[in-house]
Symmetry: C2
Subunit: 193 residues, 2 copies
């Protein structure tokens, strides 16, 4: 029977799922054709059809991370300080899915820092994220929910805070359960006011 | 001529220096016997004498990172809020040396998260760092330089803030030069007061 386009796409999705599970368990350091093949119950030969070289596998993993991050569910935002809080909560590892995704992000930093072009990409990605946050902060300031001040600078601080909280929560999940992460974020936002 | 103990130790130091330079340039993802040999101008055969397996090389790299972090120069601390500020400034990538060291730390997170025992080690390491910070914060509170409140919780927030600032500064050195990092830290400390 000839393979249909549907078969082909279903197979691609299975491969992507296997890549994601390998990343969540072993990080980019453990991402090999062999590990993905084992996760998929396939041969490495089949995988070389999708990923002729290791760098193709890494590129696919980075695309997958970007896609899944863009597509992740987000809190209903409203505006003002509530929207700032929602955007920051959306980053934190408060669910199993967000924990896996954050673990993969943190793991990808090693790969990204080793490649100047990718490192610049990451720099731009975090800059865009700060811009979004800056706009939310500026609105909260206009509404009088945050004190006046350079919203970009406030965004730089807030993004620092959540990224570092992500890292600590990944290494010490017991010390940083979701409630604690939320309390710490609320402390941070209260101190801004 | 027989090799002396001094020769042997000098050679070990050279090997460690080469491992450090490979880590600073390529991270843990780029740490291979071949890369260290190239950096050292030696054969991989010589290196297998020091590191029979890849995991021995990684273990040495992690030891080196811990040693160099413990031995790094620290600001004269005083006590109170000034000591809290000095301890946090000591973490930030404000010099080339601190940038290399932070870059290696961030890169090591991928390796650490992939290994449950190492991940626990890292969790304990960050917990000890928070404890030191907590004690400095408690003193600043007793001196009336910070408002009362759970010093542990304040330490969790402050450590989050600097770790995330490290990550952003590594990816966007132009947006986060040393003066900007220092301003952001001072904003953070001012908001605590």
């Amino acid at each position: 029977m000839p393979r249909t386009k549907g078969d082909h796409e279903a197979r691609r999705r299975e491969v992507s799922e296997a890549v994601w599970r390998v990343l969540a368990a072993h990080g980019f350091g453990g991402l090999t054709l062999r590990a993905v093949a084992a996760e998929l119950g396939a041969t490495t030969g089949l995988l070389t059809h999708y990923f002729p070289a290791k760098r193709d596998l890494v590129a696919h993993a980075l695309d997958l991370l970007a896609e899944r991050t863009a597509a992740r569910p987000r809190r209903a935002a409203g505006e003002g300080l509530a929207a700032v809080r929602a955007a920051l909560l959306d980053i934190l590892p408060l669910t199993a899915e967000a924990t896996a995704s954050n673990r993969i992000w943190v793991s990808s930093w090693d790969t990204a820092l080793a490649d100047p072009a990718l490192s610049d990409d990451y720099g731009r990605k975090y800059a865009r994220s700060r811009e979004k946050l800056r706009d939310l902060i500026a609105t909260a300031q206009r509404l009088g929910e945050l004190p006046p001040g350079d919203p970009e600078r406030v965004a730089e601080g807030a993004q620092s805070f959540v990224l570092g909280l992500v890292v600590q929560a990944l290494f010490s999940p017991t010390a940083f359960p979701p409630e604690r992460q939320t309390e710490l974020l609320d402390d941070y936002l209260a101190a801004l006011g």
